[in-house]
Amino acid sequence: MSETAAPVGAAKARRELQRAVIRFAGDSGDGMQLTGEQFTTESAWAGNDIATLPNFPAEIRAPAGTLFGVSSFQLQFGSQRVYTPGDRLDCLVAMNPAALKVHLRDLKPGGLLIVNTAAFEKRNLDKAGYAQNPLDDPALAERYRLHKVDMTGLTHKAIADLKLDTKEKDRTKNFFALGLVSWIYTRPLEPTLEWIGKKFTKSADIAEANTRVLKAGHAFGETAEFFEEAYTVEPAEMAPGLYRAMTGNRALAWGLLAAAERSKVPLVYGAYPITPASSVLEELAMHKRFRIRTIQAEDEIAAVTAAIGASFGGAIGITCSSGPGIALKGEGIGLAVTAELPLVILNIQRAGPSTGMPTKTEQADLMQALYGRNSESPVVVLAPATPGDCFYVAYEAVRIAAKYMVPVIVLSDGFLANGSEPWLIPDPATLPPIDIQFRTEPEGFFAYLRDPATLSRPWVRPGTPGLEHRIGGIEKQDVTGNISYDPDNHDHMVRTRAEKVRRVAQEIPPTSINGPATGDLLVVGWGGTYGSITAAVERAQAAGKSVASVHLRHLNPLPPDLGHILREYRKVLVPEINSGQLVRVLRAEYLVDAVGFNRVRGLPLASEEILEDINQLLGSKA
């Protein structure tokens, strides 16, 4: 720990960094999510590229001071492209002993460690399982740049005269931490001050308290004698345009709104609350002006079947859940497959099986999406790569579902859902058209008459005279739609439904390859691991390795050029947060000797570990 004496108020050295990884950690009641979000907004204002990782317990009010009650928010910001929230921490803010115990192992040696000393008293130490106060151990200060700050005490001092009770005053201490870290990394306070002004319009005292405490934290950094240096992170070179912070779940919701507006067809959204998918429902429920109708259904099955009923009525039916809920929707999805109705199913994947770890991320539902229904039940499967990409994928899901009269599953995950990134706001006019034509002509009408290009059947809105017809879950004769138990017809229909999904391949743009078109190693990923994989691959490339990566957005059907691409590399590596699902698909589809990199910890993949694996694979070349 540095105790360099600098004159109070003197300008301190500011060292320029290319990137930094910070984690705020405390009790779930300490406001760490808010602190992290505000720091993210400040960094966005500073023009940095950003990736975030909120991490919180499933319990709403976990007992204070416990290890399992720790909540944290991590972000990486930089003057260069930032692909991930970062593996190891440059700075850890620990608001109590439990937070220190849980998160210290992720702090780099020599990293900045800021602790709230007031919380390190006997009761909290006991709950965290510390026999002695770890702050008294000289080894801690030797290994890290430890700064012991009585945040609680300083917070109270700053607002002593305000008429708030002790609890209310205590609650503002996260803004002390935010002010302090904002000073250390030269963040602008304006966005947070603005936020406080808007948020606490009802209580002037609370607004005043938060403002003062934020500034007190900032001033403390400026004047405290032991902060030996502070940092700047210059704006990143990013495509010019208007940006906003975007989380994956909001992007999904807004992508659906864009599709509703563009298609001019109402959207009916059926959902049952489930972590981490509920915020999509909540977001959509706020936007009734877009004629999106949200049904909070009685269960997961009602959620999907209400959506199917809406599609039968000529609206676009959407349902959303996480893995356990998707399992319950299986039979309903099968009905949409055979009734050949548009349906979009959003799966915000989480760690399982069963309840698993609801607030932790995973991507182990790929096989469920591809095969998790009875019989031959093919659906289109898409996966967004980043929080902002969720917008485009949700939109594309609606477009494909309506064009091909087919269910489309979108595989997002908990990391994308809650994580945010600076997002270049698109011009909605540049989105591809969603051109929906309902059949109104009775002449020559049959319920399963197929479009020769897409194989889709006509979509008829009930209420159209002369087109009264019946459909259902029983196998039907092609073209007429009449019930049929004919063996050859069933075989034909099974193949036709599969072929219809295969034809969606004509919608897939050429696969973009990050790196050389041929080489020693191709890393293939899908979904929320895009950032971790890209960061690792670019580091390997910078080290002169012959490595490229491909990130799949279309998982069924797969891109038509993928087979060719895979054969251009000596080895293929498939990193996934599961035990090896895409890797099986690739091996089965293309007979390539792809190998997996698999970690199933409820966390994003660490790019350092992927890099090690890349190096190992290439090392064995000789």
Partner: protein, 344 residues
Amino acid sequence: MSTQGAGAAAAPTPKYTKKDFESDQDVRWCPGCGDYAILSAVQKSMPDLGIPRENIVFISGIGCSSRFPYYMNTYGFHTIHGRAPAIATGLRVARPDLKVFVVTGDGDGLSIGGNHMLHVLRRNVNLTILLFNNRIYGLTKGQYSPTSELGKVTKSTPMGSADRPVNPLAYALGCGATFVARTVDRNIQHMEEMLKRAAAHRGTGFIEILQNCNVYNDLAWNVIYDKTSKLAYELRLEHGKPLVYGPPDARKAVIMDGVTPKVADVKDVPESALWIHDEKNVNAAKILADLFAPNFPVPIGVLEAIEAPIYEEVMLEQEQRAISDRGAGSIAKLLVSGDTWKIG
């Protein structure tokens, strides 16, 4: 947006006959099944609804009853087991201009789909539910159903069922249904009358149709099929009329003794003590729902018809209010709302 779009159409509704509602599909129920009579009554009552045929949709789940939509020359959707009320709810939310019927049975509607039945009724979605109750699983060939009597011997319960039956009327009322009626497959005229009443109801119209499965549970409702027994037990509910029933020479009345219903000879009951049927009285309906032979009569008719907010109407009213207060949504505006920053 009209909620029963039939009336909103510019063109006058054509004059239909029963034949206009018969589809070209062969009816595949067992010969002698009570479903034939129900189908006929439904087709016969359709022209009187005054709704263009293209605005009518029949939704069903799985089971013998659920084949129903295939035989109606309207829009129809034969879906999956138990889920018809949820599918119909989604359809109504998307298309409040359509007249929606749900056809279900005791297994489909009260066992696998019991949860959806609860929620469609409490939401009071504007649609009509026809629940065919034959107290048996027919399509799966004769296992007991949730309305089978305790001790019912079937293929799956060779020593008798161990679970007590659910009463569809009491269940519907308990779920907060706003229209509850009972009718019988052997009384075409009464069925038509009930169908029309239920279809005209604003909100969920729930009808239990006592239906005969002549293959697996023949004469389960013989108490109101058999001429003598029917005369003895059938209690026709009529709004504003006293609860009296039975043969002319032995008329009986249902009256209340404190909070308990009991049967008395009409001649022993002063006129002022007769129970006058009131469809608006939910508490009375709950008592009526539990009456059955042999200790009580079998009530037939409308037990309850009340008004309550309709789910999709409330939802649409909110949508209209959001639009009139703040204008229709614009994605271009939404994308740039809130905190944004410019680069370059």
